[in-house]
Every structure is written in C-alpha cells, then in structure tokens.
Symmetry: C2
Subunit: 107 residues, 2 copies
DNA sequence: CGGCTAATTAGCTAACACGCTAGATAATCG
DNA sequence: CGATTATCTAGCGTGTTAGCTAATTAGCCG
C-alpha cells in the first residue's frame, strides 16, 4: 500500500518503466536483470502489494501490467507539494512587486 | 541523490509536506514529531543529501526549505511512465474502434 | 573567553530489505 | 497421471536503516 516505498528501489523502478512500454511475463522481466529470478519475483511481489502492478494468468505464465491509478495518487501528492511551494513563491513575488511599486510611487 | 528513496519514509514525507507550507527551523520540525530530535535530524540529512531540501543558517538555527527541482524530476519520471501507459491504452482504444468500424462495414 | 541554545554526529540495538540457493506450487501437455 | 515449464515461497547471510541516549560541534551574547 505504499507506492513511494515500492519505487524506492531502482530495480523496481526499472520494472515499472519496462511495463510502461507494455505487458510482460515474469520470466521475460527477470531475464532482463543480472539478478536471480527469485529476487525479481520478490520485487514483483512488492510492486503487486503496493498496487503498482497486477497480472493475469495465461497458461503457466503470469503476464504483468502497470496499474496506473496507484502511481497517479503518488503523483498527486507531489503535485500538491509542488503547487503549494509554487503558490508561496508566487505570493512572495507579488509581495515584492508591490513593495517595489510603492517605493517607486513614494519617491 | 535518490529522491524516491528519500520519500520512501513516511516521516520524511511529512517533513516535505510541512515545508511545502513554508520554511521552518530544525527544532520546530522536530517538535512536531513524537520521535527524538536526533532521529529527525537524521531524516533531515537524508532529505538534504537527496537534494529535496536545503537550509540557510540564521543565528544558531538552521532554517529549512523545500528545493522543488529534485521533486520535479521525480514527478517527471512519473509523468513519463503514466503518459506512456496512457498512450498504449489510447492506441488500443483506437485499434478496437477501427476493428469495430470494419466489422460494421463488412456487415 | 565562558555560558547558552540549536542542531548535529557517534555509537548502539532491533528490525528490515536485498541478494542468494533450494525446494514447493501451479498450470499445461502428452 | 507423470513430465515439463513458469513462477513463487522458504530460509539464510549480510548490509542498511530507524529508533534511542550521550557526547560534540557551531554560532551567539555578555
């Protein structure tokens, strides 16, 4: 349930980036990393449990896909933080502009 | 240098959210958490080293602020992933629409 | 300089995360 | 059903991290 924790690991971010390009089965994913299969499998589990990915069974294969909603929520958090920060700067800028204007008016 | 790792810890995310509302000194930040001061200090260090926050010295206080650029980069990564995913779905939708249209044309 | 306040670093413990190998599970195919 | 393929879970070793308390550094003020 914690997307940011799931994305903290670089291998998991690579998996996410791979799945952004399209679905893949577990073996295909594992084959693209220099680490052992079970290690990748554990990463897939973390991503699954945090809701970042999901899979469907196809014969003996698990075909994984991205589940964009969870990532969207994480992005919304960032948007809120960045928007609030930007809003503060905008207010500061307006404030400074006004100070400058008054200074010019006065003399 | 790893923003996602820095954001993996919930305490650190709270610190970030706090700083989105405005600057604060270290003691003020620490006072809002139920954990000991040094523990917060260590979190601040992680956030500093990942470029998420910065501070200026003011008398004996360190006044911390958000450094939005690093967060922006993280968000850009998410945007890229989500955009790629959405684009795939859009193409799929167009494909299905076309199949449907041809079917109707053929009767 | 000596005392004061603010914040950090040092050093410890307990918990967790990532890697590995070996064994278990699940679904398919002859 | 037995063999095969694909994937996961179990269990272990090691390194890292989060928390704590105690000691240290950094900057100010009389």
């Amino acid at each position: 349930m914690d997307v940011f924790e799931a994305l903290a690991d670089p291998t998991r971010r690579e998996i996410v980036a791979m799945l952004a390009a399209g679905e893949r089965n577990a073996g295909d994913i594992a084959g693209r990393f220099p680490i052992a299969g079970p290690s990748v499998s554990r990463h897939l589990k973390v991503l699954r449990e945090s809701g970042v990915i999901a899979y469907r069974q196809e014969a003996t294969s698990r075909i994984y896909r991205l589940e964009p909603q969870s990532l969207s929520e994480a992005r919304q958090w960032m948007d809120a933080v960045l928007d609030a920060t930007k809003a503060r700067f905008d207010r500061l800028g307006a404030h400074l502009d006004e100070m400058k204007r008054r200074e010019e008016d006065d003399g």
